[in-house]
C-alpha cells in the first residue's frame, strides 16, 4: 500500500469506496502533485473540483419530533437531515482527481481546503490539462489559483459579476408557481 504520509504537506488520509482521499496543506499542493506524478506514477489529472461547504449541515436534523428551534407546522417536510454530517475545516475544498495509467487503474483524490479569499497554487505546470479546469473553478466558484498563466472567466460572459456555483449565489431564473416545491 502506498504510504501517503510521504507526500509533501500531508495532513491526513482516508479510504473511500471509490478511491483514497489525501488531504494536503493548501500552500504545498503543487509539490504534492509533483510528487504524485513523478514518484507515485499518477500520470494523468482527470478533474479539478471545488466544493463550497457554506452552511454545511445548516438544515439541521429534521423529523416530526422537532428541530432545534421547534416544529414548524408550515413546513412539515423540512428536508432536514437524519444526522448532522461531519463539520468541514474551511469553506472550500479543492479536490484533484488523479489517475495512474497502469494495472488496476489506481486513483487518488488530493484535497486541500481554503477559505474565501485564500488562493491556491496552480498546478498547470504539473499537468497542463488543469488549465481549463482551474479556470472553470475560478469562474464558477471564485477560487484564485496563484501562478495560473491565464486566469479568466471561461464559461460565463467576461463581464459577469459574481460566482454562480457558490452557495450564497441565487439560482436565478424567473419565479414560477410552485417552483420552490421539492
Amino acid at each position: 500500500m502506498t504510504q501517503w504520509s510521504d507526500l509533501p504537506g500531508y495532513v491526513s488520509d482516508k479510504d473511500g469506496a471509490d478511491m483514497p482521499t489525501v488531504t494536503v496543506e493548501r500552500e504545498r499542493i503543487r509539490e504534492a502533485c509533483e510528487y504524485a506524478r513523478d514518484q507515485l506514477g499518477f500520470a494523468m489529472c482527470v478533474d479539478v473540483v471545488a466544493t463550497d461547504y457554506l452552511e454545511w449541515g445548516g438544515k439541521g436534523v429534521s423529523g416530526y419530533i422537532g428541530t432545534a428551534t421547534g416544529r414548524d407546522l408550515n413546513k412539515p417536510m423540512t428536508e432536514g437531515l437524519q444526522a448532522l454530517p461531519d463539520p468541514k475545516p474551511k469553506r472550500f475544498s479543492i479536490s484533484y482527481h488523479v489517475l495512474g495509467l497502469r494495472q488496476g487503474a489506481p486513483r487518488v483524490r488530493l484535497q486541500c481546503w481554503a477559505s474565501d479569499g485564500e488562493s491556491v497554487p496552480s498546478v498547470v505546470s504539473v499537468w497542463p490539462t488543469c488549465d481549463w479546469h482551474e479556470r472553470e473553478q475560478f469562474d464558477l466558484m471564485g477560487i484564485v489559483f496563484d501562478g495560473h498563466p491565464n486566469l479568466e472567466r471561461l464559461l460565463m460572459p467576461e463581464d459577469w459579476e459574481g460566482h454562480p456555483l457558490r452557495k450564497d449565489y441565487p439560482l436565478g431564473g424567473e419565479p414560477v408557481r410552485f417552483s420552490d416545491a421539492v
Partner: protein, 199 residues
C-alpha cells in the same frame, strides 16, 4: 363603336401582360378579350395576385439557417436525413450565412452569452424572415430555470412557431414547418410585422 363605349372591354394589358404593346401598339381587342367579362377573364387565365404567387414561391423554398445549439440540433439534422426527408419541401439547403437564409430554427437552449450572437444573426437576415423556436428550451427556457438560460427566445426575437417537446420528434418539427408554410400562404404576416420590433 357604340358597343365599346357602353361596355369597356377589359384588356390583357390591364393585367400587366404587356407584350402586345411592344409588338403592335395600336392593336384592338382580340376575340378572346371581347367574349369575356372581367370575372371570366380572371378565372379563365388563372390570374392571381402578385402577393399570392410570391408567397407560394417563398413557402416552397424557405431556406433555414444553421443555428443548431444543443440536443434539438441533432433532431434537426435528422429531418435532413433520408427518413424524414426535408428536401421534399425544398428546405434541405441549410445556408450558413444568415444573409442567404429565410428561416431561423433556434434549436436548443440559449445561454445569456449566446443571446447576443443570436440577435446579431437575426438582424443580419433579410426580410421576409421567420423564426421557429424548436423545443421547450427555446420556447420558454425548458427545464432550466436558472441564472444562465434565457427563458424563451421570444424575449429577444419575434417567434412565429413554437414547437414543444424535449427534443421534438422530427415529425413534430415538420408539423411546425408545414403550419408555418400554411400560415404564410394564407397571408398571415411574419412575426416581426405583427409584434413590431421584438420586445
Amino acid at each position: 363603336m357604340a358597343d365599346e363605349q357602353q361596355e369597356p372591354i377589359t384588356r390583357l394589358r390591364d393585367y400587366g401582360l404587356q407584350s402586345e404593346r411592344l409588338l403592335w401598339p395600336t392593336k384592338g381587342p382580340s376575340r378572346f378579350e371581347e367574349s369575356l367579362g372581367v370575372e371570366e377573364l380572371e378565372r379563365a387565365l388563372g390570374i392571381t395576385t402578385l402577393e399570392k404567387a410570391v408567397r407560394w414561391a417563398q413557402t416552397k423554398s424557405m431556406w433555414p439557417d444553421t443555428f443548431g445549439l444543443a440536443c434539438c440540433a441533432i433532431e434537426m439534422m435528422s429531418i435532413v436525413s433520408s427518413r424524414y426527408d426535408l428536401a421534399r419541401f425544398g428546405m434541405e439547403a441549410f445556408r450558413s450565412s444568415p444573409r442567404q437564409a429565410d428561416l431561423l430554427i433556434v434549436s436548443g437552449r440559449v445561454a445569456h452569452k449566446m443571446a447576443e450572437p443570436l440577435r446579431q444573426i437575426y438582424d443580419q437576415m433579410l426580410e421576409p424572415k421567420w423564426v421557429i423556436a424548436m423545443g421547450v428550451c427555446a420556447s420558454s427556457g425548458g427545464m432550466f430555470n436558472n441564472y444562465t438560460i434565457l427563458q424563451g427566445v421570444d424575449r429577444i426575437v419575434p417567434v412565429d412557431i413554437y414547437i414543444p417537446f424535449c427534443p421534438p420528434r422530427p415529425e413534430a418539427l415538420m408539423e411546425g414547418i408545414i403550419r408555418l408554410h400554411e400560415a404564410h400562404q394564407a397571408g398571415i404576416p411574419p412575426a416581426y410585422e405583427r409584434n413590431g420590433v421584438a420586445t
